[in-house]
Subunit: 148 residues, 3 copies
């Protein structure tokens, strides 16, 4: 394991993943606070336990909760893919500079994507999404080159 | 690879991931059985192929299917993040005791989360969710300490 | 890292992951094109920025967009799990032939699953889903055997 830790590319990937992990957990908290705020409980047991007295479950998500869930969903489509692609990229011999650029830009783009989504800022959000996807695509290309 | 296999922390992580992988596949089967039971097909081709004769597709998920899908969705927000964080934690030098505690408690918490969700048990489910998220957060903190 | 790259099983896993990563990004583009085609914007800021003049946000997903989102959702339930299970399988000593069979068949099954979903072909889609899940299950079994 010491050999792995000496690899600067792995350390950069690990730090970026730590930031993205905290971001994902923060997004889950954000969704929870939105749900609590509007009393938008879908499961009856949630309304009973966490709602105001007499609160009942809704049959569909409140707009504000659905908005927060879309932030999480977009993360789910992108960040676990990065976790895998970034690690394989590093394990197949990424240069530290490449790891810093592609993992770093991806991480910044996804943090900015969440901020843009919360602020409902377009086309900023779309630019962040495309930037992250392009970083992932370049790392995939590098993996194929390194392996073949 | 033999060197990696000799690492007890990696073996613990691998076993926990195996349990969680089976759990995710079981949750997919659970959703499928709910859908079959209530005939809650959304895709017309599914209703034709797997429904009773004359079955038609619904325009929205049946409550029982939506409930099962929320179990899977909550897993998707937490378990792939664990797969990444746990592995990076182990690769950056986790002690076997730390891996046993944080990976083990996470795994137990997520299995219990699914059981609590199916039984609609609150606040048990919320406690399981928070326990799993705290384990993830501690591992992220350890990654940052190990790498810097 | 050079030691890892010399491992043929890791190289096979890396190539399969690269294919699946491109497939996931392509599915996101597919969903985006469906949304653009039917003008099915859910966020008001998206309708304003990317819609026709005067476009307004819908309160629920258009059928064609929901269909594309279900393709992505099914991927999210299966592919990140493969990323983790496949890597652990390789790191715990997978033979190259085993990696070629299980990672290769999984990858082909998931690409075929997307094609079957787009063409609304059942039971072809169900067969692809089960094939992929069985590959994952076998790799989980091998992990447990390798580690214990």
């Amino acid at each position: 394991m010491e050999v792995l830790l000496e690899n600067p590319a792995l350390r950069i990937y690990a730090l970026c993943s730590a930031v993205l992990g905290v971001k994902m957990l923060a997004s889950a908290v954000y969704t929870g606070t939105r749900r609590q705020k509007v009393g938008g409980f879908i499961n009856p047991e949630d309304a009973n336990t966490f709602g105001q007295p007499g609160a009942v479950a809704k049959s569909e998500e409140a707009p504000e909760v659905a908005h927060a869930l879309r932030i999480q969903r977009n993360d789910l489509e992108n960040i676990p893919l990065f976790f895998a692609v970034g690690l394989i990229y590093v394990l197949t011999g990424a240069a530290p500079v490449g790891a810093a650029v592609f993992c770093g830009v991806f991480t910044l783009a996804r943090v900015a994507h969440t901020i843009a989504y919360i602020r409902r800022a377009q086309p900023a959000r779309a630019i962040c999404f495309v930037t992250g996807a392009l970083c992932t695509l370049v790392m995939i290309f590098r993996i194929v080159v390194n392996v073949l």
